[in-house]
């Protein structure tokens, strides 16, 4: 899932400067699961903002709504009516939600309440950890399912580097050296010989290159109803 964290209240309050009414909009998918921007977090942030406004003696009318996803048009459109009555929508979706609500709702300002952090897994109760770098061309078949792009501090493809010590990364002893994990995994599978294969430099053109990524499925494309009715 996409993992995010709420921005500090001061920063949120600052970005709402000049607004007299705001719709705090939650998203019912990833950010609900990582407890950053679901219905509960909307309630908490709305309450905090109301209290701040009261303490500061400013006028701020706060509405609350949570939709299933902020990255699908039919759900984002559900925010239109409430949002258009407000000076701004404070989105508790990830960055995708903020961008897409801006695009779909057009006339109303959309302001982010979260910092989108990474693609991660729920590794323990209340703990989320990065597991994928979204690099566009997955290479973990060569590293037995463990991603060095996301999990190695230097994203190196042929590790470990010289800083790996007792299984931890030189960047921070709290971080497991992912190349140690890869080594151990390959060892346990009896595939250590695979480590001798040198991975070629990665083709980054599949990732952060050439502008925004786009992908499509022709079997899910909109049907040209004009033609069909002829």
């Amino acid at each position: 899932m996409i993992v995010a964290e709420r921005k500090p209240l001061d920063e949120i309050q600052q970005s709402l400067e000049g607004c007299k009414s705001v719709l705090v909009a939650g998203c019912g998918t990833c950010v609900t699961v990582c407890m950053a921007g679901g219905e509960k977090e909307v309630g908490v942030l709305a309450s905090m903002l109301r209290m701040r406004a009261k303490m500061d003696g400013t006028e701020l009318d706060i509405r609350e709504a949570t939709v299933q996803r902020q990255c699908d048009r039919e759900y984002v459109e559900q925010l239109a009516e409430l949002g258009e009555e407000c000076d701004a929508i404070l989105s508790m979706g990830c960055g995708v939600g903020v961008n897409y609500a801006t695009e779909v709702l057009k006339t109303v300002r959309v302001i982010p309440a979260l910092n989108t952090r990474f693609y991660g897994a729920n590794v323990d109760e209340g703990v989320w950890s990065e597991r994928c770098g979204g690099c566009g061309e997955c290479i973990v078949a060569s590293t037995e399912g463990i991603c060095p792009i996301a999990r190695c501090s230097k994203s190196i493809l042929n590790g470990p580097c010289g800083g790996s010590q007792d299984g931890t990364c030189e960047v921070d002893p709290e971080i497991a050296c992912v190349w140690q994990l890869i080594y151990d995994r390959m060892d346990s599978l009896g595939r250590l010989d695979k480590l001798e294969e040198i991975l070629a430099p990665k083709d980054w053109s599949k990732g952060r290159d050439g502008g925004p990524g786009t992908t499509s499925r022709e079997d899910a494309a909109a049907i040209d109803r004009g033609e069909a009715s002829e």
């Binding site: 964290e5 905090m48 209290m51 303490m55």
Partner: protein
């Protein structure tokens, strides 16, 4: 979660004469609620400032309960659950402890001050402990002054209603 703190507004100097804090207490029915009852039947004197919300277990609490109570005009809030290790639902009181700690951070961030929220543990037989918690919290809030959310002394019934609204929000 990213959080920052705003220095809580000091209202202790500007508290109106005769300021009586409004305290909302979220009490587990198996221990603190029964302890409060016992305190009553034992004719123990304790602060009349405390309004009790009975819960099945303090594990039911959620940060929004506390925030709503403060929004509604409470000057202080406390949660009272069973002794650690004695929760009827195994670890509800430990969950409550974590949530109180988390909500203290939220109150610090807003500028109300996390010190206005506290967690107590007691058993059903400890009427005196409930009375002591109620008195201690009332004294603490008296010295902190009224909640910075409003200048007038709190309306106990409004704060209680807001606390109940918070419970409803969390259950929705």
């Amino acid at each position: 979660m990213m959080s920052d703190e705003r220095e809580a507004i000091d209202t202790s100097e500007t508290a109106p004469a005769g300021f009586e804090p409004v305290i909302v207490a979220f009490c587990c029915q198996y221990c603190a609620y029964a302890a409060a009852d016992l305190a009553g039947s034992m004719r123990l004197q304790y602060s009349p400032n405390v309004r009790v919300v009975r819960l099945l277990c303090t594990g039911k609490t959620d940060p929004i309960f506390f925030l709503k109570a403060f929004e509604g005009g409470a000057d202080g809030v406390f949660v009272a659950g069973c002794m650690e290790g004695n929760c009827h639902f195994v670890e509800g009181n430990l969950r409550a402890k974590q949530r109180v700690q988390h909500a203290k951070g939220l109150l610090d961030e807003v500028g109300i001050g996390g010190g206005r929220l506290e967690m107590y543990n007691m058993s059903a037989g400890e009427g005196a402990k409930f009375a002591a918690a109620a008195d201690e919290m009332t004294e603490r809030i008296r010295s902190l002054g009224p909640s910075p959310l409003r200048p007038e002394p709190g309306d106990a019934e409004a704060a209680l209603q807001a606390a109940l609204d918070g419970v409803e929000v969390a259950q929705a």
